[in-house]
Chain length 128, copies 2
Amino acid sequence: MGTHGIVLFGHGARDPRWAEPFERLAAKLRAARGATAGPVSLAFLELMTPDLPTAIAEQVAGGCVEITVVPVFFGQGGHVRRDLPNVIDVCRAAHPGVEIRCAGAAGEDDAVLDAIVQYCLQEAGNAG
Amino acid sequence: MGTHGIVLFGHGARDPRWAEPFERLAAKLRAARGATAGPVSLAFLELMTPDLPTAIAEQVAGGCVEITVVPVFFGQGGHVRRDLPNVIDVCRAAHPGVEIRCAGAAGEDDAVLDAIVQYCLQEAGNAG
């Protein structure tokens, strides 16, 4: 059985510090998956590198036969609904032997929203 | 003691469906705070309404004397580091009797990142 890679896909920004929580997220995910699991990479839609085709090509070159792309976006606007499927199609055509799956936006997940609720309560000091 | 409002501040997008998870987040936060707590509003940086000054003015008009703004962003780029503090300053000047606080980006919170890690593991089917 081949390796299963995960690519965390973010928007990208001009400020390099913007990527810090994505790096922390990737580190946490690597730790949670364990040392023998497949690679975890970052990829960006714009303004930062690598882009998604580059990140996927690197995972394929490294032996991945299955890749899950997780859009780390809060909303599902044009970027996730339109731009991303187009890029995924290009990647699938480039690597026909690799199963490339795309998850829904992480910010739509109920448990993620619940964690944000807890953060808001904490930041507001639970005041009524 | 006056009412404490929370404003969830997002980027905004052209596609109206982009706001759906923000509406769900606001509904969850209202439920978690309970019926007697202060208001929870959405506000956007661009492309969607209301903007932050409008949302804050509405909470002040409704009796809020304390308002916590939570940026619902994954990274802290120019929007959160530069644009948002400028808007917050304008709001503070407009409402000198109201305590307006600004939290860090929700996507930098460790528990939020942990929830995203769990989402990634689930979406990747925990494959190794």
